[in-house]
């Protein structure tokens, strides 16, 4: 910074001090402007990266689903006898292929859901929904599974609940994950879903009389691929992603989820969400 004046002579100490302050302030202002520009550039780069990620996800989803469509489709047609009578002994292996293919599809869907959440590209589709109808939908989907295992499967939702606001599709997915887990890990006894209004919130409880969870395993339960034991995946199936996704969706609704469990006695997965979820 240069200061020039027309009259000869020295600057008074006051003026020098003032100019010094002025100089320091200018330097700070320039620095701030630079930082600001850098932040702008960084945020543009982030935006671009996030956009690339979305594009990648969309392509990935297509690239994975297209061959799987042919695999599952031809398999279904063979099972339906559209390719001729199914030879003796072929039915079981074909059925296994269908089951594994569907499992792969669930994995793909879950991985993409998680990736979308991480890329910040997952948006809730908020609308009014009837809690009763939502829970009833979950019950009717899972009932055959409960019956096949001889488990009691009950639902307890007050009939006078007002319409709630949230993403009923994603909440259904959460309840399906939790109740599906309960049915999977329960050999005898019952599985129950209950809903209770509590102030501005709804408290959902999914309880079972299943194998339970050891206290030291509870913390990592909601982390990706952390089924408490590696053998669990092979014995009970599942993608190891359901709880991680469930937690994300509950938190996106402004709620939280936790678990109370005792090994050998059973588990209770409890989540609360606002009756009226607000857009993020």
């Amino acid at each position: 910074m240069a200061v020039i004046r027309n009259a000869p002579g020295e600057f008074s100490p006051e003026v020098v001090k003032l100019l010094q302050t002025f100089g320091t302030q200018s330097a700070i202002a320039i620095q701030n402007a630079r930082l600001f520009r850098e932040i702008e550039e960084k945020s543009r780069q982030l935006e671009e990266a996030s956009h690339h990620k979305s594009q990648f996800l969309a392509s990935m989803s297509h690239e994975l689903r297209t061959p799987l469509n042919a695999i599952l489709g031809f398999n279904e047609m063979m099972l339906d006898g559209l390719c001729g009578e199914v030879p003796e002994g072929f039915n079981d292996p074909l059925q296994e292929m269908q089951t594994s293919g569907k499992h792969l599809l669930r994995l793909i869907n879950n991985v993409l859901d998680l990736a979308k959440i991480e890329a910040g590209r997952m948006e809730l589709a908020l609308a009014d929904y009837a809690v009763n109808a939502m829970v009833e939908g979950v019950r009717s989907t899972l009932r055959p599974l409960a019956e096949a295992k001889g488990l009691e499967f009950s639902v307890d939702v007050p009939t006078d609940l007002p319409l709630a606001h949230g993403d009923a599709g994603r909440l259904t997915q959460c309840l399906m994950n939790l109740a599906g887990n309960s049915l999977k890990f329960t050999k005898e006894g019952h599985v129950a879903i209950s809903v209770e209004p509590k102030g501005e919130n709804l408290v959902f409880r999914v309880t079972d009389t299943g194998i339970g969870i050891a206290p030291e395993k509870i913390d990592s339960l909601f982390t990706e691929f952390k089924q408490t034991d590696a053998t669990i995946a092979s014995e009970y199936g599942g993608t190891g992603l359901g709880l991680a996704i469930t937690r994300q969706f509950i938190e996106m609704h402004g709620g939280r989820i936790w678990v109370e469990s005792a090994p050998g006695k059973g588990s209770a997965f409890i989540f609360t969400i606002p009756v009226q979820a607000k857009p993020a």
């Binding site: 061959p67 279904e76 339906d80 559209l82 599809l105």
Partner: protein
């Protein structure tokens, strides 16, 4: 009665084969196109009774092809089932906006697809 014609626009050979096999024992006549542009050309030439349109196609997308067909008087009212496999939400909405009559997500079950086809254009 003449057989109902279905146009399937899909670039993946295995999936075209799948639908070919699915329709073997029906009275439907199947014609195929491999990319969006050809899909539009074929639709305008052959005037099919129903179009199955994949979304991600070479040249122009299935959504763009659907939009172009909706703008043509000859195909403005032809039923179009859009088949998508995108990961991002709002796919069904985008298909509707482009003018799709129905929407199916990949992987679709052949049984479901045939039921949907029969529902929209009953077999003779």
């Amino acid at each position: 009665m003449t057989a109902k014609t279905i146009l399937y626009v899909e670039d993946n050979e295995a999936n075209r084969k799948l639908v070919r096999l699915l329709l073997t024992n029906t009275t439907y006549r199947l014609i195929e196109a491999f990319d969006g542009e050809e899909g539009v050309t074929q639709a305008l030439e052959a005037r099919p009774d129903l179009i199955l349109m994949d979304v991600q196609l070479p040249k122009i997308s299935g959504l763009e092809a659907t939009r172009r067909l909706r703008a043509e008087p000859a195909t403005a009212k032809t039923p179009i089932i859009v088949i998508t496999s995108f990961a991002l939400s709002g796919d069904d909405l985008k298909a509707k906006e482009a003018g799709a009559s129905a929407y199916l997500a990949k992987p679709y079950g052949p049984r479901d697809l045939l039921a949907l086809i029969r529902n929209i254009v009953p077999e003779d």
